[in-house]
Amino acid sequence: MTAQVETGSSPQAPEPEEESLAARLQRFVGRPSRPPVSAADPVNQPMVRHWCEAIGDGNPVYTDPQAAGASRHRGLVAPPTMLQVWNMPGLRPVPPLPGEDQLGELIGILDQAGYTAIVATNCEQEYARYLRPGDLLSATSMIEAISEEKRTALGSGYFINLHETYTDQRGEVVGTMMLRVLKFRPNERAESSPPAAPPRRPRPVVNDDNRFFWEGVGRGELLIQRCTGCARLRHPPRPMCPHCRSLEWDTRRSGGRGTVYSYVIPHHPPVPPFTYPHVVGLIELVEGTRLVSNVIDIDPAEVRIGMPVEVCFITVDDELVLPQFRPTVGNRER
């Protein structure tokens, strides 16, 4: 959003910034945010059809005259959520005359004061009736309210409530909309950090006891810790043999085959970046030790205790390789 800014105050004589800003903002309350707009086109079937295709909306009352006629609507209607569409300014909007773009001025003042970012937080639409092809809409918009400065997770800023009223060719109100935006000063941290990356899968905590395991995984090997005192295998890795208390150990490589000893399918709470449902399995290896992993390449509903599985290694991202298990199938294409 761009705006011609007329601040009305001289840069040579700065006033107490915060107070004058709040007072200046409140002067905009009750003003039209922009001049009234008349829709360029009446409500029409082609735009409704494009919308329904894009949204994937198969409700026949929008596109099928026969079904619409047989419904309570007694004829074609437009999706109510298209209310705002009919008066959108389009790709090449006519620039407003100076003084008419009150919202632009308000935004410009906040930009200058350092509240440079904007985000919409709420939208409420009420529909007095469904629109029909041929209806010609006009929209008026008012700056309804401006909050005090609020601290939010995004940064400090001002909530601006805009209220739109839509009328038809007879001047009757067909719907209203309240749009709330937050015009804010981005947090220092948010500003200096790169754009939010999608969350990554948690990293394993690697220490002296289990480093061999994760290094093996990195090479595509599933290693099991073995006591050199009594030759018993153990997992998860730990310093002392629970059987003979020896601190001496080496490793052996697992063949990677086993069975599902037990499993759970977590549903709640969802934790990014995991997709749901998925299977967390306790896998009993042929060698006898058990480890927690995922069972993949299978519909979670099909997992069974005792099911034969085999290890595979998935590259999660450029730093993380994980051992996972999938059903053992004799003729599986690898």
Binding site: M47, G56, D57, M82, G90, C123, Q125, P272
Partner: protein, 146 residues
């Protein structure tokens, strides 16, 4: 990916606590761009990934009009052609970026007979992997009694 039309339930069949059929929307660039253009929203962040990155976003993202549209569709996929949506109130959260999936769920929170109309309130939630994209409450009516 549109849902085939199904008949409206009778108002008398709708009960407090009923859940709506879940809708999983794969968020693709095509979905975001086509919905933005169909709603005549030509802001660059909804169709031009290069400019979206210059604005500090990782990619293009869904516009609000489309979010409203999906909430409306989610309701009438369930409530059918006899439904009349009266009010939609949405709270916006995590953006819908390409490559994500938004899962929409809904629960009936109130039913009330007003004249010949059955008014139903539904809480709707659309989640993606970043969290709640949209939390909405919708008031929709069905003919009652007949």
């Amino acid at each position: 990916m549109s849902t085939a039309a199904r008949p409206s339930p009778r108002f008398e069949e709708v009960h407090l606590g009923d859940t709506l059929p879940e809708l999983a929307m794969e968020i693709t660039p095509t979905l975001i761009v086509s919905a933005a253009l169909a709603s005549r929203d030509f802001q660059d962040v909804h169709h031009d990934a290069t400019l979206a990155r210059q604005h500090g976003m990782p990619d293009i993202f869904m516009n609000i009009l489309a979010t409203n549209g999906f909430v409306g569709r989610f309701i009438t996929d369930w409530a059918g052609p006899e439904a009349q949506i009266r009010k939609i109130s949405v709270r916006l959260g995590a953006p819908n970026f390409p490559g994500d999936t938004m899962r929409m769920t809904g629960t009936v929170t109130a039913t009330e007979l007003q004249g010949g109309e059955g008014v139903i309130d539904v809480d709707v939630r659309g989640r993606n992997r970043l969290g709640d994209h949209v939390v909405a409450s919708v008031s929709v009516s069905l003919p009652a009694g007949g």
